[in-house]
Every structure is written in structure tokens, then in C-alpha cells.
Amino acid sequence: MVRRRALVTAAAMRPGEAGEVIAVEAPDPDSSRRLFALGLVPGARLTLVQCFPAYVVKAGETTVALDREMAESVWVALGKGR
């Protein structure tokens, strides 16, 4: 059975929350590409570490700091994604 999971941007997550990256839609294609290269790829598991003064997320062994605009372009399905 498929449980529906809440879809939010990384900017709307609370510190400690985790989920699976569903889509990366930065305003410009370059930024999307770069977020991909940093491991924020659809299918990756992401945890929000902190949201102030910048957003900090962990995906795998990579830690990435984002400003609000970038955090808003990463869409995450909350909960246990694998």
C-alpha cells in the first residue's frame, strides 16, 4: 500500500526532519545542475540540519548550505523515503 507523503520545499522543513528529494527546480538551469552535483538529486535522502542563518541540509555524506531561494527550489517528500 502506498502512503501519501507531504510534499514540501526544503525551506518549509523543520530542523531534524528528513525526506526524499522529489524534484529540484531552481529558477535557472545552472543552479539546478549545481544542486544535482552537490547530491541533491531526485531520489536522494535529505535531512534538514538547520534553517538559520542559512539552510543546511545533509544528503548522504554531503553537507550543503543554501539560501532561502535555493532551499525553496528543492522539493522533498517528508518521511521515510528510501
Partner: protein, 690 residues
């Protein structure tokens, strides 16, 4: 003559490329551009096993479809220079993120050695990389390494000399070492450097693993490779398949290149690219996704979790430093002790005093003056070379005695911060604060450096990612960041008058924020998005820190010495042409307008020619000025155009248009705020003293 074997080290930032470069080249490194920044390329030569290796350390590269200037430089290097073997350094903890580039390099036709680095951090993360399995899976030679400790270097060197041996053998192509017994499997296919015949998209059975894409993408690639025809022009070092894939991802540089190289085929190629990127699942998304999925698949087959991550001090501290509660005090400490005390006080104070007063003013300059006077009879030459504004006694002295100590201490500090992984943490903490000025967190370093020496800080703005940000930072530096010479005198002049220092600081900061944010709005383009990888905190290796510092000092000196020489030559020209009195008269008129005595004009002019002189002139003038006038004079002098050396550098770094605009804006702001202050301040002051 013996042929040299050319090796290029490639990989993401922070994976240990420069450490490997150090191991391979020993002391013989030449940094040809600003290190650690926009475009740095270090070259060196290594000798082992009877071969000569030319090693080039490329700037950080995440992917062949480039985004940053750094990446563009790295790719341009791969496309323009013949390379016999690529060493792709990857971070073992993040194989899934690193391998897409490996696949792209293979696709492009390069022979690749993969170095899985940081196996110590892999262990600390509770992971284990099966290097053999990875080599098997990739069909490429793979070496495991902990480069900071030198582990794996011998294997890398041994591999490269084997490659060099087979490359040097007659009748062999440069494609690779061929079927050496020691050679990892699959080499028979040889990821041929320049495929001569038709390319084989999926490679022979035991060749390197090549990503396969979905049918739509593969069809488009097939059409494009046919259209590309034989290899030609600047694109020839990348395989046609790689070119086709870059095209399909709408990589702007590749499209431009092919448009000019193959004008006849271009319309058809453009059509295929547009066609493939139509619809909800454009090919330009599918390609990187396919690469990442393949990477994840390979990584998950070769990386195992063996234990829970150990909370090493580096990891714990690294996480804490991102939290404002811990991070901000540490940041304040780093800026105060690292920049202000060490660079500002020790470098710009103690060391400069020793070198300038004792060495130059005490010994070198008097000797130069005498020697030049003896050699030249003409006053014109004497003044050009020596005396107050001579190329040797002023230009050379400035570069050596005043700027070099600041540069040395700064680069030592900067290399330490860089190698410890602290810089991204600093950037993320201050990003919000600098956003209104159109700057990202990274700009804090050049801005704080501006408090030591604006000329050098202008050069360091190269560390910023976009041109827009570099222009804005240059503007802020030119406008209102007082350098150590100015700051010292301002403090001295103003501290005796209660309140004056506060008013000065408030006015300068106010003008800076107001004009800076106005510039950020006016300048076309959008603010650079901020996102950065935060590497784990690491203990910097003294040898690497020293190597970087030394290479940067040499580089800096070469960049900046001509600027200082040119600046003193310009002063000489101005004096010889009799321009100074005219300029002084003009400035005096302006000063009177600001409600200042016309003697302050001298202060301004010398403030431009030699910042410390200008400020020192204010020192002499101070007793004669009322407090409001003194504040007006100091505020305008701080905001006034930067010193001559910084101006020359601005023109060189930012180009004539941007530099002129910056100067005009700085001048306008300085005079404008001077005028307004000159009107308001006396009234307010009187009101206050009542």
C-alpha cells in the same frame, strides 16, 4: 629529447587535488593565476622512474556541463591542452556524487585513473569502499588513498610511470598503456584519446563503463554525432559523443563553439537540440539524472556501511560552527585575531614598520637616492627613479615593504582557513547580512581584507563567483572600506574628540549601505544564488599551507609590482607635466564648497596618490579644524576615491567601463555626503554642545 608525459589532475573542489599535485611535483610548482579562486591553474614537473611528468592541477570541476568560471577554466584546459592521462580524484565518502564526472570523462574519450581519496574520513563515517570492486565495475584503474598522509601516492606514481612507458613505446598510440600485465582490466579497449574511426557508443565488453541513456536521448545523440562529422577545431579533444551530450544539455559554451565551427550543420543540430528538450521530460534533465542514477548504482555496489559514524572532533566541531550561537563568536574571533590582530596589527604594523622604516627609509632609499643622483644628472630621471615619488623609492618600496608583509600574513591566514574547511561556514553565517549589498557570504573575506589593504582586497575579489558580485565588491571596497593606513590615522585624528569617531563611523557605514544597496539594485542581473558544499572540518597540513602561501605570495608579487611601478610613473608624469597645481586648484574649489579650508585639497590629492600621506596630512591639519569640519573631512576622505594603486588595479581587473563607473559613483557619494554633512553637522553639533 625525451617526451614528457602530461598528467592532469581533475575533480570537485575539496577532494585533495592540490595535495596530490604537491606529492607529484615536489617544490617545482608555478601558479599561473590566482589560486583557490576563479581561475587557478598550478603547473609543476615531477621526475620518477626515469620519466618526466608535467602535472597540471585543474580548478574544481563538478561536471563537464559547466556552471562556474572555475569549471569553465578547467574544461577549457582539457579541451585546449594535450593530456596523456587524467587523474580523477574523488572523495570516497561521496562516490555517488563524484562518479558522474568520471563517466563524463570516459565518454569524452579521456584515459582516466580514479583516485578514491579520504579513506580515513570514509572509515570515520562508518563506511568502507571496495576499491577492487569499483575498478571492476568502472572498468578503470582505481587507487585508494589518504593523500594528506601520503597513502596511495606510490601506487599512483607507479601507475603513471607504467602508462608513460607504454606511451613511449614505438608503434603504440598515446591512447594508453595497452595490455600491460599490471594494467587494470579493460584497457584493450583503450578509451582512445582521439577516436579515429566511427565511435562505438556502448564500448566493447570489458572496456570502461559507459552510461547508456534512454532511447530518445540515444537517438538524438546518434543524429548529432553524425552531423558533427570529423573532428575539427577547438572541440577536437572531446569525443563526438561527449560533444553531442553537452549540446543536448544546452551547454552555452559548447553550443557557441559548434555554431562557429560547423556553420553548415548548425541549423539542423539546433533543431535536434530544441526538439529533444521539448515536453515535460527534456533530455537536458534526463542526461544528468541518468548519470547520477548510474553513479548511485555503482556506489551502492562498492560502498558498504560497516559501523555507525564515529563522532570525530572535526565532525562535531564542524557542525557546531554552523550554528550561530557557537559560530558567530568564533567568526568574530577569527576576524579579530586572524585578520585584525595578525594581518592588521602584526603584518601591516610590526612587519611593515620593520621593513619600511628600518630597511627602506633607513638604508635602501637613502642609498638609492645617492646612487641615482650620481648616475643621472637630469632632474627628470632622478625624480623618475628615486626621491619622494620614484619608481624605485616609492613603487618598489610600496610593493615590497608595505604590501608584501600584509600579503604574506593574509595568505597564510587564508590558506589555513581554506584548508581547514572553515571558509564555507563563514560564508553561510554572514550570507544574510551581505545580501542587501548584492553580495554573498563569500564576500566577507575581501571586505575584511580591505581593512588592511584595498589594493590587495580588490585583487582577492576574484574569489567571488559572478562578475556582478565582483563589481559590487570592488565598488564597496573603493567607496568606504578604509585601509589600515587610513584607519590608523583616522583613529589618531578623531579619537581625541569625543563623539567625532562615532559620527565618522556612522556616516561612513550609512553611506556604504545606502550606496551599496542602491548599486545592487541598479546593476543589471540577479543576485547570485548562494549555495555551497560544507566540507568536514580538517586539520590543515602545514606543508600544504606553506606551499599555497608561498605560491600565492609569488603570484601576488608578480601581479601587483607592475601596478605600483605604474602608479609612481603616473605621479612622475603628472609632476613633470605640471598637472598637480591645476588639479590642486580644482580640488580646493570643491573643498571650499564643502565648508572646508582649501588646504584640505592637498590632503585629498595626496590621499589619492598615497593614501597614508593623505591621511597623515589630515593629522597635521587637524588642530586647525573645528570638530564638525574634521568629521566632514575624514568622512569624505574615507569615501573618496581609493588610492592610485587600487585605481590602476580596478581598471585592470574590472575593465575601463566598470572601473570608471565605480570611480564616478565613489566620487559622487563622497562629495555628496560631504556636502550634506557640511551643511547639517555644524548645526547639529552646536545644538548638541548647548
Amino acid at each position: 629529447m625525451e617526451r614528457r608525459f602530461r598528467v592532469a589532475i581533475v575533480g570537485c573542489p575539496n577532494v585533495g587535488k592540490s595535495v596530490l599535485f604537491g606529492h607529484l611535483t615536489g617544490r617545482y610548482a608555478v601558479v599561473s593565476n590566482y589560486p583557490g579562486t576563479t581561475v587557478e591553474i598550478a603547473r609543476g614537473t615531477g621526475w620518477w622512474d626515469g620519466f618526466t611528468f608535467e602535472v597540471v592541477d585543474t580548478p574544481g570541476l563538478y561536471s563537464l556541463s559547466c556552471v562556474t568560471d572555475e569549471e569553465k577554466a578547467a574544461r577549457a584546459l582539457l579541451m585546449s591542452e594535450p593530456v596523456d592521462w587524467l587523474v580523477h580524484v574523488v572523495d570516497g565518502k561521496n562516490l555517488d556524487r563524484m562518479l558522474p564526472l568520471t563517466f563524463q570523462l570516459v565518454e569524452a574519450g579521456f584515459p582516466v585513473l580514479v583516485v578514491v581519496n579520504m579513506l580515513d574520513e570514509v572509515r570515520a563515517a562508518g563506511l568502507e569502499v571496495d576499491v577492487g570492486a569499483l575498478s571492476e565495475r568502472l572498468g578503470l584503474p582505481v587507487v585508494g588513498a589518504v593523500l594528506t598522509r601520503g597513502a596511495g601516492v606510490l601506487e599512483i606514481k607507479a601507475f603513471l610511470s607504467r602508462a608513460a612507458r607504454s606511451a613511449g613505446r614505438p608503434g603504440r598510440s598515446l591512447a594508453g598503456p595497452g595490455r600491460e600485465p599490471v594494467e587494470p582490466r579493460g584497457e584493450s579497449a583503450g578509451p582512445g584519446r582521439r577516436p579515429v574511426g566511427p565511435e562505438q557508443p556502448c564500448g566493447p565488453p570489458r572496456g570502461p563503463l559507459r552510461p547508456a541513456y534512454d532511447r530518445r536521448t540515444e537517438r538524438a545523440v546518434a543524429v548529432l554525432t553524425t552531423l558533427l562529422g570529423p573532428h575539427a577545431g577547438d572541440s577536437r579533444r572531446l569525443s563526438r559523443r561527449a560533444l553531442a551530450l553537452l549540446c543536448l544539455q544546452e551547454d552555452p559554451d559548447t553550443l557557441d563553439l559548434l555554431r562557429s565551427e560547423r556553420p553548415n550543420q548548425w541549423p539542423e543540430m539546433a533543431r535536434v537540440v530544441t526538439e529533444s528538450n521539448r515536453g515535460p521530460h527534456p533530455v537536458r534533465h534526463r542526461i544528468p539524472l541518468a548519470l547520477h542514477h548510474l553513479a548511485r548504482e555503482v556506489a551502492s555496489a562498492c560502498v558498504r556501511r560497516v559501523s555507525d559514524p564515529h563522532p570525530t572532533p572535526g565532525r562535531v566541531l564542524g557542525d557546531l560552527l554552523m550554528r550561530p550561537v557557537v559560530g558567530l563568536p568564533v567568526l568574530a574571533g577569527v576576524v579579530y585575531f586572524g585578520l585584525y590582530r595578525f594581518v592588521g596589527r602584526f603584518g601591516a604594523g610590526t612587519l611593515v614598520d620593520a621593513l619600511d622604516r628600518v630597511l627602506f627609509l633607513g638604508l635602501v632609499n637613502p642609498w638609492l637616492d645617492r646612487t641615482v643622483d650620481r648616475l643621472f644628472a637630469s632632474e627628470v630621471w632622478r625624480e623618475l627613479l628615486a626621491h619622494e615619488y620614484g619608481v624605485l623609492t616609492l613603487g618598489l618600496r610600496y610593493a615590497v615593504a608595505i604590501v608584501l608583509p600584509i600579503v604574506g600574513t593574509f595568505f597564510l591566514m587564508f590558506s589555513l582557513l581554506e584548508d581547514s574547511g572553515y571558509l564555507p561556514r563563514l560564508a553561510l553565517l554572514v550570507d544574510r547580512v551581505l545580501k542587501p549589498l548584492g553580495l554573498s557570504g563569500r564576500a566577507l573575506i575581501p571586505l575584511t581584507l580591505g581593512l588592511c589593504c584595498g589594493t590587495m582586497a580588490t585583487l582577492v575579489t576574484r574569489t567571488l563567483e559572478t562578475r556582478r558580485e565582483r563589481v559590487l565588491a570592488t565598488f564597496v571596497l573603493a567607496l568606504g572600506v578604509p585601509c589600515s593606513a587610513q584607519l590608523g590615522v583616522m583613529m589618531g585624528v578623531l579619537s581625541g574628540r569625543p563623539g567625532a569617531l562615532g559620527v565618522w563611523a556612522l556616516c561612513v557605514a550609512g553611506a556604504l549601505v545606502a550606496t551599496g544597496s542602491a548599486a545592487a539594485r541598479l546593476l543589471p542581473g540577479r543576485a547570485a544564488p548562494f549555495f555551497t558544499e560544507v566540507p568536514p572540518l580538517r586539520l590543515p597540513h602545514p606543508r600544504n599551507v606553506w606551499r599555497k602561501t608561498a605560491a600565492r605570495m609569488v603570484w601576488y608579487f608578480r601581479e601587483v609590482l607592475p601596478v605600483f611601478l605604474a602608479a609612481s610613473a603616473i605621479i612622475w608624469l603628472g609632476r613633470m607635466a605640471g598637472l598637480l597645481p591645476a588639479v590642486l586648484a580644482g580640488l580646493a574649489a570643491v573643498c571650499v564648497r564643502l565648508g572646508l579650508p582649501k588646504e584640505t585639497a592637498v590632503v585629498y590629492l595626496f590621499g589619492f596618490l598615497r593614501r597614508d600621506y593623505g591621511a597623515a596630512g589630515l593629522y597635521d591639519l587637524a588642530p586647525a579644524l573645528s570638530t564638525p569640519s574634521l568629521v566632514v573631512a575624514s568622512v569624505t576622505l574615507t569615501l573618496f576615491v581609493p588610492c592610485l594603486a587600487q585605481t590602476v588595479l580596478m581598471y585592470r581587473e574590472r575593465g575601463p567601463v566598470a572601473a570608471t563607473a565605480i570611480l564616478a559613483a565613489a566620487l559622487g557619494t563622497a562629495l555628496g555626503s560631504g556636502y550634506v554633512l557640511g551643511r547639517i553637522l555644524p548645526l547639529v553639533w552646536e545644538g548638541l554642545s548647548w
